[in-house]
Symmetry: C2
């Protein structure tokens, strides 16, 4: 069996990963700093042509140690597939740690030290890699992009830009009760289709595909699994598959903040009868 | 803040990690193949002078993706510290996957394909690195060493060798009821002291220390935490600390095989009052 793996942080990325902001920069009342920073997913080897900026990592990401590996990531992966981008991408997040509670992300996304470290990542990526397009997932990521765009290097960027609704917008928007999940999915698709119109002509695909819009929702076939080459060495393949496998559990707020339960998905329980 | 991290699998280690044996080699009735292989901990950069061979990974290791990070690893780390070896070591296991159930390790540790892949690792390590001593933890690891010693490269090795009781021997032996935990700890210490006598004069220390024997048990100060440089990038420091943080949970055998619960240790719950 041969299986690729993510080769980690080398060259200019190494000092970035050795000097990340800790809880003195990301306050522990707003961020789950106790799970450690999670930096990226995708290419750092000079081959990335699309940079995607997400929001913050969640439970799956805290275990896989790569961002956007859960449902949100698999939807985003499907968006890139419609651009013909199956490998030449890199994802970073606006925030290095998972947001804890409401509003923490909004309050801190433009904090100077958070911005400074994020800019070091974006600068390194656009200097090292032939980025043709930048896509942001959600408003915090758009704010992160706009802050960078206001820097000299950002201002000089020729990368085509689109911001889209966050991949889990349908779930969060419909939870607030102001619109149905179906309506929220329609808005998501409209937003992603508009981005496809802008980005599709601008990027060199890995696998050329005709422009194809989403319908009114995200179908199961619109999700793409996380490829092995994006995952740390030896991670089981189910950590990149479509079934959920990580959850914050615990009977009260303390225990829930302290706990992530990892469960091999049913389809991956291929062991003999116990 | 500056924090080192393990730089992963490069050079001759990359093809090893890309071509590991799967469940066709490690049968799923005897090994927890569903959690993926876990390869090593420590130096792969030409600086290792002591090779330690352990047995098989457990729950902490399945999450940290490095071997011997739990209690057993911290005891072993303490043994190396008594040799003055604080950095110039590498650990591998006799078995790439966690043993499931009784006897699976013993039954399969000398399976030809398991042996062949393990020999590729040992060969690469002794060719690439100036190994002065090899220590095996427990009987399966000793069998692994003896099988390698019977190969041409193994026979030519000048590394001093010692096999010791496995770091968690006191717990496993006393569970069987034939001796007390105190007696078992005494045996462990005797075994480790004998190894110190052989190995201490043979290795070039990172930090020279006089030979100092264990007493009749392993004291808390005999455990050494796992240094950041052994852990993947961004892992929280508590994953290398002395408090346990991973457990196999689940109400029945199926669920227990499918589940690992990760809990931030109490001492690391430094967040504000919730």
């Amino acid at each position: 069996m041969t299986r690729e793996f993510d080769r980690g942080y080398r060259g200019s990325y190494r000092p970035l990963v050795e000097s990340y902001p800790d809880e003195t920069v990301y306050p522990a009342d707003s961020f789950r700093v106790e799970w450690g920073p999670i930096f990226h997913r995708g290419r750092l080897d000079g081959s990335a042509r699309v940079l995607v900026i997400g929001q913050d990592p969640a439970a799956h990401e805290a275990i896989a140690r790569r961002i956007l590996v859960g449902e949100a990531g698999q939807r985003a992966q499907g968006l890139l597939a419609r651009l013909g981008i199956t490998r030449s991408y890199v994802y970073i997040n606006a925030l290095l740690y998972s947001v804890y509670g409401q509003g923490g992300g909004t309050r801190h996304v433009l904090d100077p030290k958070i911005v400074r470290y994020r800019h070091r990542w974006i600068d390194t990526i656009v200097k090292d890699q032939p980025i043709e397009a930048i896509i942001t997932l959600g408003q915090l990521a758009d704010q992160a992009y706009q802050a960078w765009r206001a820097t000299p290097l950002g201002a000089s960027s020729q990368a085509v830009y689109a911001t889209v609704r966050h991949p889990t917008y349908p779930e969060s928007a419909s939870r607030s009760g102001t619109l149905t999940k179906a309506e929220a999915f329609q808005r998501l698709c409209d937003s992603w289709n508009a981005a496809l119109d802008v980005i599709h002509p601008a990027v060199t695909p890995d696998v050329p595909v005709p422009l194809r819009h989403y319908g009114s929702t995200i179908l199961p076939e619109d999700l793409a699994p996380i490829p092995d080459v994006d995952l740390p060495p030896g991670l089981p393949a189910w950590m990149g598959d479509l079934d959920a496998w990580a959850a914050r559990t615990g009977a009260d707020a303390q225990k829930k903040r302290a706990t992530i339960t990892v469960t091999v998905p049913t389809r991956a329980r291929t062991w003999p009868v116990l």
